[in-house]
């Protein structure tokens, strides 16, 4: 039996995307150029630094923020990454993730702040964020290609769409959770809204915001293979390649590479988050 009617939402979406392309081509070109510029800078940096220095620097950071155990783990993970022959690809992936996270924080933070301050905006934003996280990421690869072609940029922007929700949510949550009395104190001493935000709300929301950054990084890492499908490079493209060739060996090596990077980044970020929490929550 047939359905009584058919909603052509797919066609409407096509129309909208085409209309956007027609009228805002320049805007998309600018966005593409900006993202590409950021990526190239970061990528150039990561590939330019010789591997021993990268390992030493990351290990030092890990030691400072998370202690000796994590430092040891960092050395081991990074050495294994290199000895699997995945160093260059690993660094490209790092650059992609860093760019995506940078953009996510850049936009996620103010959006999160605004949603904490405006319940109406928050109500509109919530279903959108839910959608960004639940719609399979493959779906928005298509418009990403249409707007930005194939390559790293659409990969990064697809990653941003997938990875930005926790940044927004945890920023908003962090600000809403700031002790009401402390916020009242700010008002009572005559803070302007900006003074309140910069001196009280943001500093006290830092642990939550850092947790958001951590989650954003993890989600960005989980997108590298998907992003590789539309031409993003790094370890993701290695994995994609190995799937196409059914090359188990390369697949395992590249997969482990992502695992090592994920572990190092996660532990370091957790260390920072914990430090912030300790500084603020000790009462």
């Amino acid at each position: 039996m047939d359905f009584p009617f058919r909603i052509h939402i797919g066609r409407w979406a096509e129309v909208i995307v085409e209309w956007l392309l027609e009228h805002f081509e320049g805007v998309f070109d600018v966005i593409k150029a900006i993202v590409e510029f950021i990526l190239i800078q970061i990528d150039a940096f990561f590939t330019w630094v010789p591997w021993p220095i990268t390992i030493i620097a990351l290990t030092f950071i890990a030691w400072r923020v998370s202690g000796r155990k994590v430092a040891v783990m960092t050395v081991v993970c990074l050495f294994l990454l290199g000895s699997l022959g995945m160093w260059t690809e690993g660094m490209s992936t790092m650059a992609l993730v860093a760019t995506a996270v940078f953009i996510s924080v850049l936009f996620g933070l103010p959006v999160g702040v605004f949603s904490a301050k405006s319940p109406n905006f928050d109500a509109v934003l919530k279903p959108i964020l839910d959608g960004m996280q639940t719609i399979p990421s493959f779906v928005y690869l298509i418009p990403a290609i249409m707007f930005f072609g194939i390559g790293n940029v659409p990969g990064i922007l697809a990653t941003v769409i997938f990875a930005i929700p926790p940044m927004v949510r945890l920023t908003s949550l962090g600000i809403q959770q700031v002790d009401t009395e402390v916020v009242e104190a700010g008002h009572a001493f005559g803070c302007t809204p900006w003074q309140l935000l910069l001196n009280i709300q943001l500093p006290l929301a830092v642990p939550s915001i850092m947790a958001g950054v951590n989650q954003t990084v993890m989600m960005a890492l989980s997108m590298v293979v998907v992003a590789a499908m539309i031409g993003a490079g790094g370890l993701g493209s290695k994995i994609l390649y190995s799937i196409q060739r059914i090359d188990l060996g390369m697949g395992i090596e590249a997969g482990l590479g992502i695992l090592f990077i994920a572990m190092v980044l996660d532990r370091i970020l957790q260390g920072i988050t914990k430090k912030q929490q300790q500084a603020l929550l000790k009462k």
């Binding site: 402390v182 104190a185 700010g186 001493f189 005559g190 803070c191 302007t192 006290l204 603020l280 929550l281």
Partner: protein, 404 residues
Amino acid sequence: MAEEAKTKILCEDIWKVFGKEPQRIINNWDTYKEMDKVKRLKETGCVVGTRHATFKVELGEIYCLMGLSGSGKSTLLRCINRLHEPTHGKVFIDDMDITSLSQQDLREMRRAKTGMVFQHFALLPHRRLLRNAAFGLEVQGVDKKEREKRALDALELVGLKGWEKSYPYELSGGMQQRVGLARALATDPEILLMDEAFSALDPLIRRQMQDEFVKLIKKVKKTIIFVTHDLNEALRIAGHVAVMKDGAIVQQGTPADIVLHPETDYVAEFVQDLPKTKFITAADIMEKPDKWVLKSDDTSGVIAHKMDQRELRFAFIIDENQRVLNVVDYFRLTSGGLKTPEAPPTEEESNSNFPILAAAADTFLEGLLSEGAKSKVPIVINDSDGCVIGIIPRENLLTALASA
């Protein structure tokens, strides 16, 4: 001697109703008056935080809002600097209508006139004490050197010199609240709003803080509204107390008024266990001096006659400035008959063997009793210039004690 007390803060019929359509509650209060809170919330979606609150605070006094939790005292306090926007009514500070200020003027008013201290301190955990204490000044845009100097002074004032580089979490509760106080004092506001400032401290520290606070306040001269649920605290530190119940003020007056003349059963129940000797003052039980005094040029005969008539054992001789010169003991004067009825009594005759006991009008019954025990002579109450304004005979002391 008493200057005309100047009104610093005036609250007129303040209401704060939380929820949608709060005006409905205010306009139809008679309908909702008897309703139980839960039912009222169900029917109207509103909670009455505070209502009908009218009071004034005089310049330089400590005014206590006292009530149990949920009585609306903190809500009322927050209406004064509009941390809560009053739903109805007006607040005046120095005759300036606070309720009609724009957001920007309100900010300026808060910066210039009010400091606030919070129950749980509300310090900034990521800042060292110096920057915590300097917060109000920083917000005002005072330059760094100046604000750090003033913050340091404020920290010293509350006894935290040498701690300015510490973080709040390194301090005990009592010390954290000193920081809260220093932060409020650093901007040198005219008014301090204290929200259960000492309630989160343990009893011994609380007591100590109260004493120090009273001392400190004498030094810095502020008008203070102090919210507390602790009656003893209110009575210890306040010049005037307002007792609150279910959002409304049920009685206001001096601590002695509240303790000695409770107007409702609720207040009476509150104060019933208090040692009244600590609240009854000389002014409450003294009599007008007229009956007890004699002029210095009265002759022995006249004195004896007057004392006879007035049935006095003791009387006081005063000079033209109303200062007590001597006390006359009727028995001593008349023992062995009057020697020179036409002349004023001699030193020998007038001296009663008893010292003259003098006290100020604000001496508590407690103090009067320990004084009075030393002598049979009535206690003379002098004003600050040494002029007699009242006399307390022993009977009054004992009657007061019996009723306490």
